[in-house]
């Protein structure tokens, strides 16, 4: 999956609920269908919120990986 090239990268590291979710929603709003958003986050809550949000709004969560550097990377394809 590492070869997917994101159209936009959003850094929410250090932010806690609800900021990562709000920023993700805002970023996706400004993107076209089919574009890829990469999100970096550290809030454990996002691991539930982002998948739930993607499911509800027909966006595709391509990847959710805990990186050894201590944060999580989400790759979302806008639906």
């Amino acid at each position: 999956m590492a070869d997917i090239k994101p159209d936009q990268t959003l850094d929410t590291r250090g932010l806690s609920c609800p900021m990562p979710m709000l920023k993700t929603k805002k970023a996706l709003k400004g993107m076209k269908s089919g574009q890829i958003l990469e999100v970096w986050g550290t809030d454990p809550g996002s691991k539930n919120d982002i998948p739930d949000f993607c499911k509800k709004n027909n966006n595709e969560l391509l990847e959710m990986t805990d990186l050894p550097e201590g944060y999580t990377r989400y790759i979302i394809k806008k639906g």
């Binding site: 250090g14 932010l15 609920c17 609800p18 454990p44 050894p68 201590g70």
Partner: protein
């Protein structure tokens, strides 16, 4: 055979451990368990609340700073202070056991929001004589109609708070804070040790319960233990009152509304049984200032919980998970709550904010059950409808 036997036990223990600490519990499961523990606290001692404990902490902070005279109760004997400590320890143990604990730094703006959110929550909880738990959750379950006024206030406050967050994203510089790099670990492998520390905290809480009992303070010791259970339940299910009030405006998600509603139904219906049969006094915990104090307090509290990213209860369990921003919010909440109570007393308006009313005194005991259920159902039905149509989603 004995080899197999022990291997089996080991495997089953691991499966059970993964089920409890490796996964997130559904929010509604958290809601049901929370209601059961809240009822146990009600029968054990008095109604569950949180802000009262913060009030005590704030009084002590001012006393130690030399501003206020010594508070009546020591923090380790104050009932709600002790159950708050239990919640914090329960969440900490749960986060350690689930490999979710670490000290989490935040950008500067977030700390400022933690302070301001704490100030707003502390003053709102003083006006309403209770926070999202004592002023809303427990108040509704205790058939105190001030709880409904605070609920309306929390909905309005959450809406205003969310509007501010949207404004902030557009107009204030956005920063992030990278976590400490874990790939360059030191000599000690903390990740492997953390679950054992979590287990030790659990044992220490049980030991403290016994210690309290040996000093004839069994009731207080029990509250530490019940608080511990609440912290564990809330952290594992990420049970969050803020989400219940905020998400219908933010994403339309109604999951947490349903979880709070299930919890309230169980908590309230059993309370009706307990109060109707005089197992506990029907007037117990009916003191919320309907409607002005509860409503206005709810609005201020609602704005504060959006800024802080946690209410009275979820700030505690998030602090237990290591969020430094929420630790700041709790201290700020305690100081502000104590200050606002003093100001209300000083100006003599504490008892002019409204009068408490028991729901059965207004609608009669016969109608209490249907009215109680109906109000909660209306909330759920609207939230479910909004989940599909997103009519109330502001962005």
């Amino acid at each position: 055979m004995s080899n197999n036997f022990f291997a089996d036990i080991k495997e089953q223990t691991k499966d059970a451990y993964d089920l409890v600490f490796g996964t997130k519990w559904p929010a509604w499961v958290g809601g049901i368990l929370l209601a059961i523990v809240a009822l146990m606290i009600f029968l054990w001692d008095y109604t569950w609340g949180i802000a009262g404990g913060y009030h005590n902490w704030g009084d002590w902070i001012f006393h130690l700073a030399g501003v206020k005279s010594q508070p009546r109760t020591l923090p380790w004997l104050h009932h709600l202070s002790v159950s708050n400590a239990g919640i914090l320890l329960g969440a900490l143990a749960s986060a350690l056991l689930g490999h979710q604990f670490k000290f989490r730094r935040a950008p500067k703006l977030e700390y400022a929001k933690g302070v301001i959110g704490g100030i707003l929550m502390g003053s709102g909880a003083a006006l309403a004589k209770g926070c999202n738990v004592g002023g809303f959750f427990s108040a509704v379950a205790m058939l105190d109609i001030g709880g409904y006024a605070m609920m309306v206030g929390l909905i309005i406050g959450a809406f205003i708070g969310l509007k501010y967050l949207l404004w902030e994203m557009e107009h204030l510089p956005q920063a992030s804070a990278a976590p400490a790099d874990e790939s360059k670990a030191g000599k000690i492998n903390w990740e492997a040790i953390k679950p054992y520390i979590g287990g030790l905290i659990f044992i220490a809480v049980i030991a403290a319960f016994y210690l309290y009992a040996s000093y004839d303070k069994t009731v207080v010791g029990g509250l530490l233990f019940f608080g511990f259970l609440i912290g564990l339940i809330m952290h594992r299910s990420r049970f969050c009152f803020v989400q219940a009030f905020r998400d219908p405006f933010m994403t339309g998600e109604a999951k947490m509304v349903r979880a709070v509603a299930i919890s309230l139904l169980i908590y309230g219906l059993f309370t009706i049984l307990i109060k109707y049969n005089y197992i506990q006094d029907p007037k117990m915990d009916v003191y919320h200032p309907f409607w002005f104090g509860s409503l206005v307090g709810g609005i201020i509290f609602g704005i504060g919980m959006l800024l802080a990213g946690g209410c009275a209860s979820s700030s505690l369990w998030r602090a237990g998970e290591g969020h430094t921003k929420l630790m700041v919010a709790i201290v700020s909440f305690a100081i502000s709550n104590s200050t606002t109570f003093s100001l209300l007393d000083y100006f003599g308006i504490r008892n002019k904010l409204g009068t408490p009313h028991l729901l059965p005194d207004i609608v009669g005991w016969k109608l209490t059950v249907p009215v109680f259920i109906l109000i909660i159902l209306v909330w759920v039905v609207i939230a479910n409808w909004n989940e599909k149509t997103e009519k109330f989603v502001v962005f």
